[in-house]
Symmetry: D2
Subunit: 481 residues, 4 copies
Amino acid sequence: MKELHEECGVFGIYASSVQDVGNATYYGLYALQHRGQDSAGIVVNDGGVFTVRKDLGLVGDVFDKDSLLDLGEGKIALGHVRYGTAGTATRENAQPMVVSHVKGNLAIAYNGSLINNGELRNQLELEGSIFHSTTDTEVITYIITKERLKQPSIEHAVFEALKKLKGAYSLVLMSPTKLIAARDPHGFRPLCYGKKDDGSYVIASESCALDAVGAKLVRDVAPGEVIVIDPMGIRSFKENCGTCKMSSCVFEFVYFARPDSVVDGCSVHQARVNAGRYLAKSSPCDADVVIGVPDSGLDAAIGYANESGIPYEIGFLKNKYIGRTFIFPNQKDREDQVRKKLNPISSVVKGKRVVMVDDSIVRGTTCARIVRLLREAGATEVHMRVSSPPFLNPCYYGTDIPSRECLIACNHSIEEIRDIIGVDSLGYLEYEDVKKIATGDGCKGFCTACFDGQYPTEIPDRTLKNRFEVKINIDKKKERH
Amino acid sequence: MKELHEECGVFGIYASSVQDVGNATYYGLYALQHRGQDSAGIVVNDGGVFTVRKDLGLVGDVFDKDSLLDLGEGKIALGHVRYGTAGTATRENAQPMVVSHVKGNLAIAYNGSLINNGELRNQLELEGSIFHSTTDTEVITYIITKERLKQPSIEHAVFEALKKLKGAYSLVLMSPTKLIAARDPHGFRPLCYGKKDDGSYVIASESCALDAVGAKLVRDVAPGEVIVIDPMGIRSFKENCGTCKMSSCVFEFVYFARPDSVVDGCSVHQARVNAGRYLAKSSPCDADVVIGVPDSGLDAAIGYANESGIPYEIGFLKNKYIGRTFIFPNQKDREDQVRKKLNPISSVVKGKRVVMVDDSIVRGTTCARIVRLLREAGATEVHMRVSSPPFLNPCYYGTDIPSRECLIACNHSIEEIRDIIGVDSLGYLEYEDVKKIATGDGCKGFCTACFDGQYPTEIPDRTLKNRFEVKINIDKKKERH
Amino acid sequence: MKELHEECGVFGIYASSVQDVGNATYYGLYALQHRGQDSAGIVVNDGGVFTVRKDLGLVGDVFDKDSLLDLGEGKIALGHVRYGTAGTATRENAQPMVVSHVKGNLAIAYNGSLINNGELRNQLELEGSIFHSTTDTEVITYIITKERLKQPSIEHAVFEALKKLKGAYSLVLMSPTKLIAARDPHGFRPLCYGKKDDGSYVIASESCALDAVGAKLVRDVAPGEVIVIDPMGIRSFKENCGTCKMSSCVFEFVYFARPDSVVDGCSVHQARVNAGRYLAKSSPCDADVVIGVPDSGLDAAIGYANESGIPYEIGFLKNKYIGRTFIFPNQKDREDQVRKKLNPISSVVKGKRVVMVDDSIVRGTTCARIVRLLREAGATEVHMRVSSPPFLNPCYYGTDIPSRECLIACNHSIEEIRDIIGVDSLGYLEYEDVKKIATGDGCKGFCTACFDGQYPTEIPDRTLKNRFEVKINIDKKKERH
Amino acid sequence: MKELHEECGVFGIYASSVQDVGNATYYGLYALQHRGQDSAGIVVNDGGVFTVRKDLGLVGDVFDKDSLLDLGEGKIALGHVRYGTAGTATRENAQPMVVSHVKGNLAIAYNGSLINNGELRNQLELEGSIFHSTTDTEVITYIITKERLKQPSIEHAVFEALKKLKGAYSLVLMSPTKLIAARDPHGFRPLCYGKKDDGSYVIASESCALDAVGAKLVRDVAPGEVIVIDPMGIRSFKENCGTCKMSSCVFEFVYFARPDSVVDGCSVHQARVNAGRYLAKSSPCDADVVIGVPDSGLDAAIGYANESGIPYEIGFLKNKYIGRTFIFPNQKDREDQVRKKLNPISSVVKGKRVVMVDDSIVRGTTCARIVRLLREAGATEVHMRVSSPPFLNPCYYGTDIPSRECLIACNHSIEEIRDIIGVDSLGYLEYEDVKKIATGDGCKGFCTACFDGQYPTEIPDRTLKNRFEVKINIDKKKERH
């Protein structure tokens, strides 16, 4: 019921021997499924022969026993899950992208968003390039393969190609013999790698995917770093590191990443508990019980309860069977969809003053409905606490956020919002506090542009952007299937 | 990952006017889905014309927009979800059962298990009856329709027919003009009814289904009571009430029912919290953090934490995308299936002495794997607390429990179990305490036969039982489709 | 593109040993698919244990490799394909019907239509019987199982039960140890049996199904005969034979049966060629070429050409890929659907006077469109010849024919029809000739009621019929799923 | 049951106004389905915005009501059906190919096979091109788009690009405003265009697709011609015409094309009847009846019968329900697959000396089985007549023919073949006669390389070919999905 979306999850494995790397990738993608539910893909590399399967749908829709078997065994594999903004969730845009070029096969899985995508694509088209998709990935693939004609190795080509890219990218790519990972110098999106007991290396957007395949987290890929894994072992290229201030997305900690992941050295669950604690300090409340909105508000609710001393309780039953097949035959039913998914536990809230914690308020409508449910269940007061600051600006670095017209905080004061959602009091996490919630060694700077509008890079020029958007819109229509 | 199964959920609605009673039933069944995942069915009654759809699968598999539309509108509807023991999950056995007899159409939805099913079926066959399924429901249907030839009304027929049934039954049935509910005199299985603002009556296995359709719980159907709803209003037949001691299934409170339901006057969530509290008193522990095994151990963990003063935390991330499409291509992967579904949050357990609460231990294998995960994540001690007594005896009243050979508590001492699952200490809820956890007005006696072997009724005779089982086995094979 | 429908095909096999009788039945049903496209089912009998699979759809929709494997091996099997009139093509009505009664399992596959279905069902309901379907088959099943309580064997029960049935029936039934076939005394519907080299017996609606499983046709089941196959061999009960005049359906020869079948001793193809020859004699024509409308008019066209001396040619290409998935997105396209399926071969008809032969004209619209196509392709004259007399009366014996309002011959003179379909001349087979087309030893009398209104039995009384139809209509609605 | 495959069918429409060009293309592809059953695709062009849908499967699998609706309306559309040799029937290789380049969108549908595909692809890769598929089409697309940078219009670019291609191609392409058709100078594959009454132009591989959409055949596209249709009307570029001798594929007339099509001015049905006539002259026979093997032998059988004076008859019933869902659970059943699909009509062949006509013998196994069926049905003699010369050489121009090891005529004398298939006499069409069967104005020369090894072009060099094949094999594995 959240309207914010991470755009992708990437996974790569370089095994110690030829084995069922496709299966490992399948498990890794299941652990990254929260980062993209529109398409999924796996490529297995067996001695330079690439076998690929990708399609629209969840990992469990795209892969079954037979299709995993068809992928065969190999030494290297790549996987991807994708969320596409409206109209771009097409089969053509599904990743990993797999192409053959003069040096053989190449596959790329990518998470991020380029600022200069439009310029790069224009230039490539003028050189005679043809495009099968609307993705940044195809642009990156061209730049790398063209660079490869000039460079002695694929890693040199990648290294040179990345210098031309502006924006956010965490990518994993696979040549016939190498697995390569790269993270942009700002470190917008997470990327880490780990190792299994048998010596296999695993690269993933989040450490929870390493856990899923039994790999131990070694460390995060540093902003600007390129890591190469091949028969000679693992090597790091750090020449591009430190060229700009780290600006990792703080919303990964607030909402996107899975709570059991460790990102840039910090437990995501702990960061959310910390957010709840800061919130309890800055927005205290006289109440009987603290509850979280499942699932995104639970961690911060624990923090709020512990800091405030108000008991933590389970306030809602979330119907775990309600998935994509659940429907609302009538419009009036749809309006009450929250009720079918979340049911308050009345014995917990009846006659109580309730603190309800969630990670954010986007449009406010779902929130208002949940509050009404609590009151119907007998809560005497409902105090809402939000474990992030108000959400005010668009993101150009790989997440999908509704337009400003839809963002309640862009159009209303906090008092108005309180009134709209119908709570007795409303408190947001302080802007100063949001940068403190993640405390890992690698947490050296955050992008908080969605809260403060301070973009770490230039942003797409209005004119160029418009031109580009028109083109995209045309393409969107084209690919609606 | 639990090996215990409730066998059915029932739902009925008698609307104040002709309306989309099929949709309401659809929502009600979604709320009861935890009571049966093998088949689902809805019958809509429009002036005596019954439109039915039922099939194997979850509610969301069986019904889509078109099929709900095809059900049409009506004044009365019946719904059912079913769990079938191995081999009986067939299309023929899907409910509600719909037949036509001399007085028109009749539909029945049933939750329970008859002790004297074999005798009744034999007798009916000797009178020339033919059977299309292996369900108790078909036996009950015959007894009611045959009684109907002698009685002045369907409710009289039901009332007389029930006198011949021995065992557990909570049933809802629908004639062309009436909706009838009945609960056996022991009250083994829950059944309640509620009312909507527009005057519609709703009957369901659990109150969470009333919430899902916006009905307010009026009260539970009393053990032995028959309730009739027709154009003249609602009437109760209580002549059979009090003929025996109430013996409602305590495992509904421990595990089967949804925590947001209120059964026999008691909040299920609260009963579980109570179980956690009793457990903290009888099996205290010196530890740093209390966590629950999702989802069944969470409520009791809260109770344990509150009573013991040890902080409650979220110990595991449960992968919400892992459903029926998730597969394990290799056997060795399958052995590690727990890992893919549950991942410990290491920041919570690392370096900590952990109390892990769950509602029961069945075979012990899943449990042992979870404990190993916690230790790998850095827990220094793991203390398991189980919010029910050891599970020792089969159930003859409508739940599916593995055979004694598989039940770890039947074959090992508690110390052996502790050793097998690899915990530092192990505590079960005291047998005396389990009867105290549910504290509602209607909680006047429990069936605890699974813990103590004290069956409230005679149980099927060995000879008869064997004969019956052979017949069933033959039928099982027949219906494997 | 024909609006006349045979209602069922039946198949049974009694093998010489336990073997893959399910596979044989599958092939047999494929050969009988033209007799019913709405549902298909197979029951395999392995020592009294029946394994069944049946569902809506073509044989190839209902069965795949896994489901055939699941049927297992056995000694006896039964199969059925069904065409259901509007509203009765439901899963409940799919056959074979499989029930268990006091003597074990019983399965029945049935082709026909009872005249006294309504009376029999009423009486059974008054005795306490419940009905799960609206089929004649369930009525027959009850009558047989009730009779079984009084008779010493299943064959005696069948024999006695059949005495109560009025109308058309060709049925095959299977008890735990026996395969039984029966054909009504009028012999309305075909039924024959054959033998394989390994000693297995096969019973089927048409001999083409015997060919499909490598069995040699022994002979037709005689009108009124009951045949029993069990471990003692094959036995015939002929006491009911000759109780009335044979009245086999002449439309089986004209259209329903497959041309490669031999029915009651006569080749169906040859009967159609004969019809063409009679037609050439009674309705000669001065023309350049004779063509048939695929596929139903091809055989008679050969006969017409041979008799008349006008050369036979292939006049149309029928698109073999156009099946059930072919759609007409727009209404105006639908009107031209004939064009997508049949394309005239212009080099054959251009500048020619064409005789076009088909087996019947039902509504006339399709026919008119085909004629226009021929003229557009350059035919200078089109002379239509129909290889049966005009179609004037409803059928009560198991075929589905549009109501009189839709039958063009009920509402127009031949001259008017000629004008409506736009041909230069129109000739029907003479009524006297239709009885002569089938010349086999077993062809001792035909039902030609659809042409002459002379029904061989009483027909359902108007009052009773209406009452019955109302009931059916209610049930139809009920079972719309 | 034929092992020879045409590789593609193409369709394009330029409508007189914005309309449902997607629907028209759908009907056109259904008429061309015999030219490719592996994948299907449609692209609709609405003012430069391309909407595409393509996938593996038959036209009816890929498109349903919703997907046709999603294609929207437009002024131009392109369609393609494809047969892929083993391993290349992948989703990536499905056509039409749609790309965006510097001048906007471009879509191409292609039937043929390039001789110099390997060289061209190598050169493109060295210039930095990346490939998503293994098709000739992607190579052609690159060459056209690169040429487009240098040329003033898309038609100039196409015209220049085609000069670089060697081999067989009939292609249709679509720019934002133009529909362009081109046929190689040898005219290997057919291509024609027509016009509808409303002024819309239609281009298709065969005229039967024009019939299906109500367009009248104007003429064939001449070998070497490029036709451009845009808002200014239709224009022809014939500079490349006549640069080499016409060599249209004679097997289109023998087997590939649909009998109702007119190719290069000659009716395909008539060409086959002619083949039958020549065969009757060169291989006469003393027999009672002439039958054709459905469907490919029927036309020639008519010709044989007419020329010889032996009566034509319908010898087999072909089961029209046996499609892709039909399975053979057991290996021994598979061996008898012919029996399930074709059943002799015994009344036609019993006691007769039969002439059986088919268009070709490939491996001989199917043929031998059919002959045995005829003998079992009572034929006293079976004389086989083949309406083409023996098949001896591979095709490099766009058809898929088994390797020489599998071709019976490469390894056996005619007498040996006669013996293997078990006929009393065997006659092939004379090599001299095959060039005479098609008699249209446009039939100015045929490629008969499969019979005589006289290839109209250089053929791929062994070394280059091998290198290329290895590459393809790698890619095949890659794309197995």
